[in-house]
C-alpha cells in the first residue's frame, strides 16, 4: 500500500502535536527539578536487574530482570493460547450451526462487557480455587519428574510459581481471546462468498475450504488488528500484578516500595514496556509487508 502524501494541514497538525508533547515533557521535568527538588538515583537500578551472588561467585538476575522474563513467558504463552481460542471461537462465530454461534457469541459478549480487572478477579478466584487443583497443576512441581520440571522451568519459570503463572496465562488468554475472536470473525467474513462457493464447487469440504482458501486470505487482512491486540495483551499483562502474578509490574512495585525510588522504577518499567510493544509493532509491519509481496491483488 502506498501512503497518500500528507496534506499541509495534517503536517501542521503533526508539528503542533509534537511541539505540545515536547513542551509538556519539558515542563514536567522542570517542575520535578525545581519545585520538588528531586534527586535522581538511576544507578541503584542495576543491582535490581543483576545482582552479584556471593555464594555462586556469579551474577544472578534480580527482581526486575526476573519480572521481565516472567512477563515474556506470560505474554508469549497467552498470545498462543489466546490465538487458539480466537481462531476456534472465530470460526464458530461464522458457523452455520446456531449452537456454535451462540456459544462463541456469549463468550465474546460476556468478556467485552466487563472491565478486565473485574474479569481477572472473578476468574482468578475460580481458577485458583477450582481449576488448578482439578488439573493437579499445584502438585506439578512436587510430583513431576526432574526432566519434566526442567523443561517446564524453561517454558514457565521457577517451579514454585507454576500454578501462579499458569493461572495468569489462562486468565489473560481468555480475556484477550474474546477480542481475537472478533478479529478472526471479521477477517473470515471479509472474504468474498464466491471464494467459498468456488471451493465447494470443486469438491472441497467446508473445513478444507476454510483451511486452504479462506484462512490464507483472511490472515493477511487480520494482521494489523491482530498486532494491535497483541500489544494490548502485553499492556494488559500488567493487570495480573493485582492477583500477585510475579511479573514485571508486580515485582517493580516491590522494588519501588522497598527502595522508595518510585519515579526511577516506574519510568524504567514504562520504558521496558514501550520497547517491547514498539518492537512488536515493528515486527508486524515487516511481516505485513512480506505477506503483501507474496501475492498481489
Amino acid at each position: 500500500m502506498r501512503r497518500k502524501p500528507k496534506s499541509a494541514v495534517t503536517r501542521a497538525v503533526d508539528i503542533i502535536v509534537i511541539a505540545v508533547a515536547i513542551f509538556l515533557v519539558g515542563y514536567i521535568i522542570h517542575k520535578v527539578d525545581t519545585v520538588m527538588i528531586y534527586e535522581w538515583h538511576w544507578d541503584f537500578l542495576w543491582e535490581y536487574i543483576l545482582r552479584w551472588d556471593e555464594e555462586q561467585q556469579a551474577y544472578a538476575p534480580n527482581l526486575l530482570l526476573k519480572g521481565l522474563t516472567a512477563t515474556f513467558g506470560l505474554v508469549i504463552w497467552s498470545m498462543l493460547l489466546a490465538s487458539v481460542i480466537g481462531i476456534v471461537m472465530g470460526i464458530m462465530r461464522t458457523s452455520s450451526r446456531i449452537f456454535f454461534r451462540t456459544v462463541s457469541r456469549l463468550y465474546v459478549e460476556f468478556i467485552r462487557n466487563m472491565p478486565p480487572v473485574v474479569f481477572i478477579f472473578v476468574f482468578f478466584f475460580f481458577l485458583s480455587s477450582q481449576f488448578v487443583p482439578l488439573l493437579g497443576i499445584d502438585q506439578l512441581s512436587v510430583d513431576a519428574s526432574p526432566q519434566t520440571i526442567a523443561v517446564l522451568e524453561i517454558l514457565l519459570g521457577p517451579p514454585e510459581l507454576f500454578a501462579n503463572v499458569i493461572s495468569g496465562i489462562i486468565c489473560l488468554a481468555l480475556f484477550e481471546g474474546a477480542y481475537i475472536t472478533e478479529i478472526i470473525r471479521a477477517g473470515i467474513q471479509s472474504i468474498d462468498k464466491g471464494q467459498t462457493e468456488a471451493g465447494q464447487s470443486i469438491g472441497l469440504s467446508r473445513f478444507q475450504t476454510l483451511r486452504w482458501i479462506i484462512f490464507p486470505q483472511a490472515v493477511r487482512k487480520v494482521l494489523p488488528p491482530l498486532a494491535g491486540q497483541f500489544i494490548t495483551l502485553i499492556k494488559d499483562s500488567s493487570i495480573l500484578a493485582l492477583i500477585s502474578i510475579q511479573e514485571l509490574t508486580f515485582l517493580a512495585q516491590e522494588v519501588a516500595y522497598s527502595t522508595q525510588y518510585v519515579f526511577e522504577v516506574w519510568l524504567f518499567v514504562a520504558g521496558v514496556y514501550f520497547c517491547i510493544c514498539y518492537s512488536l509493532a515493528f515486527l508486524f509491519t515487516r511481516l505485513e509487508k512480506r505477506t503483501h509481496r507474496i501475492y498481489q491483488s
Binding site: D192, A198, G203, S205, I213, Y295, Q296
Partner: protein, 245 residues
C-alpha cells in the same frame, strides 16, 4: 440418451419471495442447454440449486441418478460430477494459476503434487494458456482468468459443466476467447448448462434453449425451433430485445 440432470417441480423461496416456481428441466448426457431470460428471472438460482450452492425448498433434483438431499455424502458425490464456472471467475487470489488447479486434487482427492500438476498442465493446454501457469490471478486479463476458472473445473473431470453468465464480466474483446473454449468443450460432448445472453453461442453450440421469466420455465425448445418459431409472447419479446443489440 439417459438423463443426466432432472429437475422435477422445483420451488425455491428467499423468505417470502418465490425465486423458482415449479421448475422442471431434463438434460440428457452430452446435451448442451442454454438458459436465458431477463435479470432476476431465477436463472442463477436454478443452476446453483443443481450443485447445492442454494437449497431447493420443494420438488426433486436428480444428478446422474443421485437425488440431491440433506445427505452430505450425496452432495459430495453430486459436486464431484459437476463443475461450475462463475460470472466473477472466483479464482483463489493467493494461489498461482497452477495451484488453483491442483488444490482440490491434492487436498480433497489426495493426489501427489507431480500427478496433479501434470493434470493441471493438460487442462491449461486445453484452454490455451499453459504459459500462464506460474502467474497469479491478478496478473491475468479477465478472459484468461475465466479460462483458468474453466480449466480449474475441468481438472476435477466432471460429467457436467454449469456456466453462470461466464462472459458477462468480460470486456467485449475477451468474450470470444472464452466462448471458443466453451464451444470446443461442447464439441467434445460435455453435458453443459449455460446461462448466457450470447445468442450466437446458443445457435452454434446448444441443443436446447430454455427461456425463464419470474422464476418459471416459460419455454424450452430445440435451438432451431426456439429461434425460428418461439411459442410464448414473452419469449418473442425477450428475443426481439436481445437480438437487436
Amino acid at each position: 440418451m439417459e438423463q443426466m440432470i432432472s429437475l422435477k417441480n422445483v420451488f425455491k423461496y428467499f423468505g417470502e419471495f418465490r425465486a423458482l416456481n415449479d421448475v422442471s428441466l431434463e438434460v440428457a448426457g452430452g446435451e448442451r442447454v442454454v438458459v436465458c431470460g431477463p435479470s432476476g428471472s431465477g436463472k442463477s438460482t436454478m443452476i446453483r440449486c443443481i450443485n447445492r450452492l442454494e437449497e431447493h425448498d420443494d420438488g426433486e433434483i436428480w444428478v446422474n441418478k443421485n437425488e440431491l438431499t440433506e445427505d452430505t455424502r450425496n452432495i459430495a458425490q453430486i459436486r464431484k460430477d459437476i463443475g461450475m464456472v462463475f460470472q466473477q471467475f472466483n479464482l483463489f487470489p493467493h494461489l498461482s494459476v497452477v495451484d488453483n488447479l491442483t488444490l482440490a486434487h491434492m487436498k480433497a482427492r489426495g493426489l501427489y503434487k507431480a500427478d496433479s500438476t501434470d493434470l493441471a498442465m493438460t487442462y491449461l493446454n486445453r484452454v490455451h494458456i499453459p504459459e500462464q501457469a506460474m502467474k497469479y490471478p491478478a496478473q491475468l486479463s479477465g478472459g484468461q482468468q475465466q479460462r483458468v476458472a474453466i480449466a480449474r473445473s475441468l481438472c476435477m473431470q466432471p460429467k457436467i459443466m454449469l456456466f453462470d453468465e461466464p462472459t458477462s464480466a468480460l470486456d467485449p474483446e475477451m468474450i470470444k476467447e472464452v466462448l471458443d473454449v466453451m464451444i470446443e468443450l461442447a464439441e467434445e460432448g460435455m453435458t453443459m448448462i449455460v446461462v448466457t445472453h450470447e445468442m450466437g453461442f446458443a445457435k452454434k453450440a446448444a441443443d436446447k434453449v430454455v427461456f425463464m421469466d419470474e422464476g418459471e420455465v416459460v419455454e424450452s425448445a430445440p435451438t432451431e425451433q426456439f429461434f425460428s418459431q418461439p411459442e410464448s409472447d414473452r419469449t418473442k419479446l425477450f428475443l426481439s430485445q436481445i437480438l437487436t443489440h
